[in-house]
Amino acid sequence: MKGSANAPQARWLVLSLFCFTLLNGCVNFWPGGSLTSDQRVQGAATLQAFQSLQAPLRMQGITVLDKRGRQLGMATWFGQEGLLLAKASDVANQGRLQIDDARGQRHPVTLAGLDDLSDVALLNVQAQGTPPPRPSMGTWSASPPSEGEWVACLEGTNEVKVGVVSGRARRIPEPRPLLGIFLKPTSDQPGAVIDEVVKKGAADRAGLKADDRIVSVNGDPIRDYQSLQDKVRSLEPGLPVTIEYVRAEDLRKKTFPLGDDSWTEGDERNRRMSGPVSSRRAGFEEVFQHDSPVNPKAIGGPVVNLDGKVVGMNIARTDRVTTYALTPRAIRQAVWRIQGDLSN
């Protein structure tokens, strides 16, 4: 630097940079940083607004455990007699069951009945000492909540999860059986010829390939693609299916569990991004869906709205954005069916 000779220019430089910084600061309206996690929907600050709901919700919190005390799901009090309901496919065939009530006391329960149509189990409490507290009657809403309505539910006895009703109430049909193959419309010889195998589908996992000619399913001969379609339609997803097929003049045989369409074919990426989901995600008489992120090990508990009314019972976690809850009507129907079975 030459000192004084450059001083005015240096001052200009400083001044211009100052102008730039100042003006830049003025027009810089993009907020920096990000919203802290406690301010987000599931954050502690936001959950504070649900304060008045949290205590009554926790009073109803019942977790269902297996005999070793591992959490299988949650349960919901329902109806005048104080029936205890849970998700059937999560609690059936798990051996001896027990529950933890809202005060943390453990009670043995027995499975009194199952309803397959909506996947509901009825539990009988064998109270030890003080019976678990039941919520007062009349807290159930008569109808499903409207779309966009806030809902809250429990994940375990303490954690509250919130969300909104995200889709219209509807029936979720039974999952349909699916082999996971595309067929050629015609074949020179009897049988159905595979055009393409859907990646990670049931047939793909079993090792079937394009150009394999399927000639029998569970021992029944297959004439063409139509008869294969009819045959598969009559089978139960998840159960083993035996397929005989011809590959390069060789007759081969494979037995593998039949797939279903509760995940659309090759929906591998959505499945991966969804984390854990319920094992049974379809076949419910009437559900509404909400976007509260509920762990599949905490399905079966009550869902309440901002008025503190119970509007449903969680019945399945299906993907990253969806939790299904049975509507009051569907629960009533399921209970009627179970009690009808019991009285017969």
Binding site: K2, Q9, A10, W12, L13, L17, C19, F20, L23, N24, V27, F29, W30, P31, G33, S34, L35, S37, Q39, R40, V41, Q42, A45, T46, A49, F50, S52, E147, G148, E149, W150, G163, V164, S166, G167, R168, R171, P177, L178, I181, F182, L183, V198, K199, Y225, Q229, L235, T264, E265, G266, D267, R269, N270, M273, S274, Q289, P293, D319, V321, T322
Partner: protein, 316 residues
């Protein structure tokens, strides 16, 4: 149908659910991490952050010029875009609720906006299935770049009521993952876009619409509620939960205006990526001209972010 069988004529105008819900890989994860920028930016956008590192001894006068030039650019930009002017009436929509009353206000305001917002939300079927939102009466649709494909791609759009409409891709702005689609001539229900003078500030309550997993007749459009958790010119993040099939769907503020379009999801369910609508405005001419405008992505997307589209496994 127990098996998906190709007994339908090719080019069937209304595909069965198997095809619509067809899932997919979407744009390979590398697409966002594109190679360095070759093309010059329009001057109004080059808000350079780094200070000029030039030798004082030789180029003071140049530095003065640069400094003033940059300041001038910013002033010009300020005049073009304006500073954010948020209507005080809506200031509450950026605040954290503290009571049931506050929650009910969010709820009832969103519910009032839902019917119109849903009518403007569509399914976009190209190689796979994504979502989109109509923003003009003549049927201009905003979607994600990886949903609509290159300029001229033939698409099928399913309206909220299930009506299929033929559409054409107008092109994409690849690095911002913005895409434009034109519906065949007609009059369409549409949503308005948030004005550039009022972009959604941090904490804005917002709701996401879309078709997660593809079109589902019985379910319809799916809504999710959340907040804006970060926002800069090229990327907006929210904690609205999204999944494959939502790509291209709209994010609305509580005033019922489209503030961004769903683009990618991250592994954490409470941070998903959207394209702010201003990108569509700024680059409309370039997109329509079919020249890709290359903008440096300010937020380098995290490794685990995945395009939120449902696409066929063998597409692209």
């Amino acid at each position: 149908m127990p098996l998906a069988i190709r007994n339908l004529p090719r080019g069937d105008p209304c595909p069965p659910r198997e095809r619509i819900g067809k899932p997919s890989l979407g744009v390979p994860p590398g697409t966002i991490h594109s190679p360095p920028i070759e093309r010059c930016l329009p001057p109004l956008l080059s808000r350079t952050r780094h200070e000029p590192t030039i030798s004082l001894a030789k180029t003071q006068s140049l530095a003065v010029l640069v400094g003033l030039l940059m300041a001038a650019v910013d002033v010009l930009e300020a005049q073009t875009n304006g500073r954010p002017v948020q209507d005080p009436q809506w200031a509450w929509t950026t605040q954290t609720p503290t009571s049931t009353r506050d929650l009910k206000r969010i709820q009832s305001t969103m519910q009032a906006r839902l019917p119109a917002a849903k009518r403007a939300t569509v399914t976009v079927l190209g190689d796979g299935s994504g979502s989109g939102v109509i923003v003009s009466r003549s049927g201009l649709v905003l979607t994600a770049g990886h949903v609509c494909g290159n300029k001229g791609s033939e698409l099928l759009v399913i309206m909220a009521d299930g009506q299929p409409v033929k559409a054409t891709s107008l092109g994409t702005l690849e690095i911002a993952d913005a895409g434009l689609v034109q519906l065949s001539p007609g009059r369409y229900p549409h949503a308005s876009m948030a004005p550039s003078k009022d972009p959604a500030p941090l904490g804005t309550w917002c709701f996401a619409l879309g078709h997660p997993g593809g079109w589902d007749d019985a379910r319809g459009v799916v809504v999710r509620l959340g907040r804006v958790i970060s926002h800069n010119r090229y990327t907006l993040r929210s904690d609205c939960k999204l999944v494959g099939g939502d790509s291209g769907g709209p994010l609305f503020d509580l005033q019922g205006r489209v503030i961004a379009i769903h683009s990618r999801i991250s592994k954490a369910a409470d941070q998903n990526f959207h394209v702010p609508v201003q990108n569509y405005r700024d680059f409309w001419p370039e997109v329509l001209a079919g020249t890709m405008a290359l903008i440096p992505a300010v937020d380098t997307p995290s490794q685990d972010s995945t395009p939120a589209a449902a696409r066929t496994p063998n597409a692209r």
